[in-house]
């Protein structure tokens, strides 16, 4: 029953956005209240849908909740309709997204109050000047994420996707402008936020363009963007028949699948378009949690989930679409983990861990581990939101992001510290937290497929490589997470002033942490290898018309894998302890890993990719465009020059020419006519005498012209009649 109200889920936060913008924008408390009430209502509704979906069980996969009543875009004899589509994974998302969002909303009510010491030395807590606007934006953001989850149509999905892009722009750049009386941010922050926002939007825009291209090509070849059609094998086969091949030997499905994957690369910050996400940490921390860990980047993964049948179809019929996804994912997982090692900003470490974890999910989806990839999406959302909010609490309390100015904070902020530990261990994949179960499942699938093939199949080198990359990444994850823990919460305080200033967060901030930590601890049991309830719900039905996923029983391989991955995580953490925990870092001491030398320099500079094609944003708020952007800039100036001087120049040239022509006539009058007169006079032998008499303004010149003209016409006639 509740399913028919699915579209109200995104509508409620959207209404909150509208109400805040139009009505309550001048009242901070009321705005926050409106936002939270709306998300609570949306949460209840989506839990309703989720529960209804759970009651359907695996049956839901074949008969998802679906309705497309809104005629949106008619063209010719066709109409694209919008509506809702809730299949098992969608239902699971409907459980995750509002939950996490609600926690973030509550957290934000406190986070967006800034402590500020006035000129008399009295501390004040005052709301951010744009407090209401913040809630408007995050409401819109949540609305769009929910819309994306319930979309029945790829175009609808795309719209939500793009509006989220806007929200991320607005929220990353939330502090990118400053009134004259706003003290909570400084000029450097304004500069960094400005650069980061534009970088995020444009980088993701590149992916969006690819996504849109893929989507349009899908619309053209498939004839529809409705998920119903996309999951219909008969309709998919049409794709091979329609348009001519894009390139010789390449079929459309793989092109389309990879173009759509382009959207994910940008949105989920995969290599090489990951560059925006670390800088996006300039937004307020709840935003980082909301956009860059729990939901928005998850949208990229969710896109791949939605397009999974397409990818598989492409892989089967026309090219290695899945393998490319898997490889990009695994590579990013490893690549981002290496950079994460060398970051000092508490949020940036988390940012790179996000990139890395998203890579995990993609690798999982790419190797066909659909269920484990999806499950990791859910668990990751919880523990990453937890980590970000925890980091935010730290920043809010001591006023810096730099981990080398922290240390020992667990004594000052026990609740934050403990919950942060829970999240960090989940990220590392420590038993029995949720991260362990989901990550382990991915590694298991890679290992099983790679090293223990089905009977009659040879070992797959590709999958082995993927497995190894993921395993190394898991090790590195444990290493940098451990490093973060030791630098932040353990050890000795390195900045005494900041340490003294530190305090436990208000309840509005720690309560959400506690809730998220609870989920982090227990969510993993939804899908253990022994009792894969999540699999039964999500995987057993497969997609509508497509064959279901297979699940192996718990066997020695699984056990082996559990042990191996626990070992990897623990060894990573142990190394971290060796480097950072055994002998705590003192103030001013360089990072022990700096001994790596050139390698360290590469990692600190993030492989210089910003300098190559990105946009390097410095701590002081200045920025340098990368090589590629400089080239575009040069080309832009060339175009402007061309426009001013060549295109417009031609027009002006025409005007100039006509002016010249006008003068020329004058010249003809004065010179040519003279010349003719001169010639006539020479025939009569009195050149000298008449030379001076023939001047313009002289009627005789005129008459001569007339006579010559008449003779010319007459003679012309003559000549014509002779021919």
């Amino acid at each position: 029953m509740v399913q028919n109200f699915t579209l109200f889920i995104p509508l409620l936060p959207f209404l909150a956005f509208a109400i805040i913008v139009l009505l309550t924008r001048n009242n901070n408390r009321l705005s926050a209240l409106v936002a939270i009430l709306s998300i609570v209502a949306a949460l209840m509704l989506s839990y309703g849908v989720f529960l209804e979906a759970l009651s359907e069980g695996a049956e839901l996969a074949a008969n998802p909740f679906y309705g497309a009543p809104i005629a949106w875009m008619p063209f010719g004899g066709m109409t694209i309709n919008f509506g809702w589509y809730v299949d098992p994974i969608g239902a699971a998302m409907l459980f995750m997204v509002p939950t996490v969002c609600l926690m973030i909303f509550i957290y934000s009510t406190a986070y967006m109050r800034h402590n500020h010491v006035d000129e008399h030395g009295h501390p004040h807590a005052e709301d951010d000047p744009r407090y209401a606007r913040f809630f408007a934006y995050i409401s819109l953001f949540t609305a769009m994420m929910l819309l994306l989850v319930v979309s029945s149509n790829l175009l609808q999905f795309f719209i939500a996707w793009e509006v989220m892009g806007f929200c991320s722009y607005a929220l990353i750049g939330f502090w990118s402008f400053r009134g004259r009386k706003e003290h909570h941010i400084d000029d450097a922050q304004v500069g960094r936020a400005r650069g980061a926002a534009i970088k995020a939007f444009l980088t993701t825009r590149v992916g969006d363009i690819l996504f849109m291209t893929g989507m349009i090509l899908l619309l053209i070849t498939l004839g529809s963007l409705d998920f119903n059609k996309m999951y219909d094998p008969a309709a998919m086969n049409n794709m091979l028949a329609g348009l001519a091949q894009p390139l010789p030997g390449v079929e459309w499905p793989v092109v389309i699948a990879l173009l759509i994957f382009g959207g994910t690369i940008a949105k989920s910050a995969q290599f090489p378009l990951h560059i925006w996400l670390p800088d996006a940490m300039e937004g307020p921390t709840p935003v980082s949690a909301l956009i860059h860990a729990a939901t928005m980047v998850s949208a990229g993964i969710f896109l791949i989930i939605r397009a999974y049948p397409l990818l598989e179809f492409a892989q089967q019929t026309s090219g290695p679409a899945m393998q490319i996804v898997a490889f990009v994912g695994a590579f990013t997982a490893l690549f981002a983990a290496t950079i994460g090692l060398a970051q000092n900003d508490i949020k940036r470490v988390l940012a790179f861990s996000t990139i890395s974890q998203l890579g995990y999910m993609l690798a999982a989806l790419g190797i066909g581990a659909f269920v484990s990839g999806s499950f990791h999406l859910l668990t990751h959302a919880f523990f990453k939101a937890l980590l970000f909010l925890g980091a935010g609490a730290v920043i809010h309390s001591i006023g810096t992001n730099d981990m080398f100015k922290m240390g020992g904070l667990i004594r000052k902020m026990p609740i934050t510290g403990i919950t942060f530990f829970v999240g960090a261990f989940a990220l590392m994949g420590i038993f029995p937290l949720s991260g362990f179960w989901s990550k382990d499942e991915i590694l298991l699938d890679a290992m099983r497929e790679g090293f223990y093939p089905h009977a009659g199949m040879s070992q797959d080198l590709f999958l082995q490589i993927i497995y190894l990359m993921l395993a190394i990444a898991a090790f590195l994850t444990a290493l940098y997470t451990g490093r973060q823990l030791f630098l932040t919460f353990l050890g000795k305080p390195r900045d005494q002033a900041a340490y003294d200033h530190a305090h436990e967060s208000p309840v509005a901030m720690w309560a959400p942490l506690a809730v998220l930590a609870t989920f982090t601890v227990f969510l993993g049991f939804w899908n253990t290898p022994f009792a894969p309830a999540f699999f039964h719900f999500v995987g057993e039905g497969g997609f509508m018309g497509l064959p279901p996923f297979e699940h192996s029983e718990f066997d020695p391989i699984a056990l082996t894998n559990m042990l191996v991955s626990t070992g990897i995580a623990l060894s990573g953490f142990a190394v971290a302890w060796g480097l950072y925990g055994f002998r705590p870092i003192q103030a001013g001491q360089p990072d022990p890993l700096a001994r790596l030398g050139f390698v360290w320099k590469i990692l600190v500079n993030k492989y210089w990719l910003d300098e190559l094609y990105g946009y390097k944003i410095n701590l002081d708020g200045t920025a340098q465009p990368g090589l590629l952007i400089r080239l575009v800039g040069a080309f832009m100036r060339l175009c402007a020059w061309f426009d001013r001087n060549v295109v417009d120049g031609l027009v002006n040239l025409a005007g100039w020419l006509s002016r010249i022509l006008a003068r020329l006539w004058g010249w003809v009058d004065t010179h040519i006519v003279d010349g003719l007169v001169n010639a006539t006079a020479s025939v009569t032998g009195e050149i000298a005498e008449w030379w001076r008499t023939m001047q313009t303004g002289n009627v005789q010149n005129y008459a001569l012209m007339a006579m010559v003209g008449a003779m010319a016409i007459a003679i012309l006639f003559l000549l014509r009649s002779f021919t």
Binding site: W665, N701, F717
Partner: protein, 519 residues
């Protein structure tokens, strides 16, 4: 010859009679009642206009309305003989040996001519009030109008020569009418010398025609010249020379050089008249000569007219770009306008399509008449009060004389051919005729020229609207006669665009006499 036939000469007779009457009264009254003489002249022109319209209408047995336009009478026949009834219904082209005809084309030009006269006369009332010898001016002016009508009615080389000289001499005198003004008298002398030489050249051409065909009558000559080579050389050569005289009237390149000087020097109402009257009459003669005499050499004259059209338009427009004296600028503009009319001449293709060259020329002439005279009326109104004829003196006219400024915009747009104006309709027909005659390239050059022309027409507008009037500049008032003239010209400029059918019919009836039947 039936005496009643003189009825068919009534417009000209009225004009000339009144001219003599005015001269006589002027002698009697000695400058005292100059304005009355002016009204008398106006009455004469209105009567002539009325008679022209009456002459054109005849009772028709076929037309349901009972009235039909079209009436063709040959006058001063040597041998056409017959009765009055016969005279009414001769077939087109069979002109026998008439010297002078009163046909649809003549009636068209009668209407055009007397309208020109009426409007210019209205403009000159104010102008002449401050000057001497107004009575003489009105008399001479009436004679000039009569001359231009007679020129359009002539179908004989001798008659053409006589009427052309008649018009010329009147024009010389009118141009030099301000005897104390150096410029005026200089303009007259130049005009005179140029005109005399041009008509001598034309006469030489006429004599060759006579020698080649043994006749002076256009119809007769046309019958002789049938396209065999014996006459071809002589006829075309002679026509080339005759163009000097006709082109001089029309101010075609290369016979245009008198025009800017004469226009600039002449009294402005006379300039207005010169820019329309002789040009119109010249086209009437050109039409008759071309279509009755050398019509068989169509290929040849199409080329010549196309070439001349391009030269005329381009030179007129390009040189006008640099002018600052408004009278001189309008002189070059009127040269260019003649170029567009020549496109129509070149596009005569005798097709049954309404977009036909003859039609186009006639419609263009009518449109040009009102537009150009309207523009001159504005110039005269401003000159009367301020003496300004230079563009730099026109700044801020929108404040000083909003009505004049707005009307000037309208007339300039019409000259440039922007709808909804008569000028646009004229250009539409001209270019249409060109495309219809497979001269699309000529039409293309024509439209390019009309774009160029817009530039200087807008240069006229620019100071009026975009610049500030000098301190203390008084508002410009103008008499009710100029106002009436402006009303006539502007309303007609608009009406020709909005309701073009009457004009179209008038023109196509005129074209019928050349055996061109329009749908």
């Amino acid at each position: 010859m039936d005496v009643f036939v003189l009825f068919y000469l009534s417009p000209e007779l009225i004009l000339m009679g009144f001219a003599l009457l005015i001269l006589g009264l002027d002698l009697l009254w000695r400058e005292r009642n100059a304005q009355t003489l002016g009204y008398l002249a106006l009455a004469a022109l209105v009567a002539a206009l009325g008679m022209s319209i009456v002459l054109g209408l005849r009772v028709s047995a076929t037309d349901a309305s009972g009235l039909q336009w079209g009436n063709q009478v040959a006058l001063f026949c040597g041998v056409c003989g017959g009765t009055f009834a016969d005279l009414l219904y001769w077939a087109p082209r069979d002109l026998a040996d008439a010297l002078y005809v009163s046909d649809n084309l003549t009636n068209f030009f009668r209407i055009v001519g007397s309208l020109t006269g009426i409007i210019v006369l209205m403009a000159s009332f104010d102008y002449m009030r401050a000057r001497k010898y107004a009575g003489e001016f009105y008399a001479l002016f009436l004679l000039a109008v009569a001359a231009l009508i007679m020129m359009a009615a002539s179908t004989n080389l001798l008659m053409i020569f006589l009427t052309l000289e008649f018009l010329s001499i009147m024009s010389y005198i009118l141009t030099g009418f301000l005897r104390e003004d150096k410029r005026s008298i200089e303009a007259a002398l130049k005009y005179f010398l140029y005109g005399a030489i041009a008509s001598a050249v034309m006469l030489y051409g006429m004599s060759l025609f006579y020698g080649a065909t043994g006749s002076l009558n256009l119809g007769e000559i046309g019958k002789v010249i049938t396209g065999d080579t014996n006459y071809e050389i002589m006829a075309l050569f002679a026509f080339g020379l005759m163009l000097a005289g006709i082109g001089f009237k029309i101010a075609l390149v290369p016979f245009h050089m008198w025009a800017p000087d004469a226009y600039e020097g002449a009294p402005t109402p006379v300039t207005a008249f010169l820019s329309v009257g002789p040009k119109v009459a010249g086209f009437a003669v050109l039409l008759r000569v071309v279509l009755q005499v050398i019509v068989v050499y169509r290929n040849d004259w199409v080329t010549i007219f196309a070439t001349l059209a391009i030269l005329t338009m381009t030179l007129g427009n390009v040189v006008a770009l640099t002018q600052t004296n408004l009278k001189r600028l309008l002189a070059y503009s009127s040269i260019a306008q003649a170029g567009y009319m020549l496109i129509g001449m070149a596009s005569i293709s005798f097709s049954a399509n309404p977009l036909e060259g003859i039609n186009a020329v006639l419609i263009y002439i009518a449109a040009y008449l009102f537009t150009n005279l309207g523009a001159f009326l504005v110039v005269i109104a401003i000159e009367n009060k301020t003496g300004a004829v230079d563009l730099s003196q026109y700044s801020g006219m929108i404040k000083r004389a909003p009505g004049l400024a707005v009307l000037m915009v309208y007339f300039m747009l019409s000259l440039a051919g922007i709808p909804p104006t008569a000028g646009f309709l004229g250009k539409f027909f001209v270019f249409g005729a060109a495309i219809n005659a497979d001269l699309g390239w000529l039409a293309a050059i024509g439209v390019i020229n009309s774009v160029i022309s817009l530039f200087y027409y807008m240069r006229v507008i620019r100071p009026m609207f975009f610049e500030v009037a000098p301190e203390g500049a008084a508002p410009i008032t103008y008499s009710r006669w100029i106002r009436a003239g402006l009303v006539i010209t502007s309303v007609m400029t608009l009406l020709i665009m909005l309701l073009p059918m009457p004009l179209f019919n008038l023109a196509s009836y005129g074209a019928q006499i050349f055996g061109v039947a329009m749908r």
